[in-house]
Symmetry: C2
Subunit: 147 residues, 2 copies
Amino acid sequence: MAKMSKMEQSTLPESMTLEQELLVMRDAFRQHQNDIRQKYRISANEMEIILHIHDFGPQRMKAIGEKFKIKFSTLTSLVDKIERLGLVKRVNSKEDRRSILVNITKKGSRMLEEYNDQIKVIATKIKSMAQNETLPGLLETLHHVNS
Amino acid sequence: MAKMSKMEQSTLPESMTLEQELLVMRDAFRQHQNDIRQKYRISANEMEIILHIHDFGPQRMKAIGEKFKIKFSTLTSLVDKIERLGLVKRVNSKEDRRSILVNITKKGSRMLEEYNDQIKVIATKIKSMAQNETLPGLLETLHHVNS
């Protein structure tokens, strides 16, 4: 996680430590996502679709296709694959029984919990370090960055 | 960037704002990477290979294959693709002219600069906000998280 890449050395002057630390953090987030995807044998696109279903609830195939700009035939084989892996399942809609929805499974939710564990580790590290009086300022800064 | 997903609402109690802010930041990093990959029409794996070549210099095909655990035939068509897109190029090694290295192109470097622009925007936001006396503490916290 602390590896310093050429990019960080070359495009940022010595003094710009903030950019360097943010780059290292971003790369750690990306590396963790790569590890999770490798463990569960899914692509970045498949990960995005599972995250979307988790965050917004069961989705119609058509809605997923429109959201991710994927052709129906491509999407069908993609959902077939992640359903075979046990990460999502097709279910009948309760409102319209002829309609099929894609929902996340327990295994899919567990995968996303593993993905989010990194956040908990980082938060614990920050809390163990930040004094009580600096935490509100840090939160305010993060909130400002995110808004 | 400020969207609150179901995940953040359901698995984190109201008070754990730090985790929520970190999740939003992580998702913004991931979303930006998705946007860049979509713009340049590359997969997450292809992005990783280009980042690796950028960070560690021109690489032999064999070394890339070993690093990313990709079969030589798969890697060949992958490098063919990103070479067609103008992001990398095959070059003769200066040390051993029979040996072929994969190097990044100017277009590939520009893509990574665009990828890193997000970091600069975040750093500028933080600096515009953080008081001079809080920035060292923030840097120390980030460094602790990254190490």
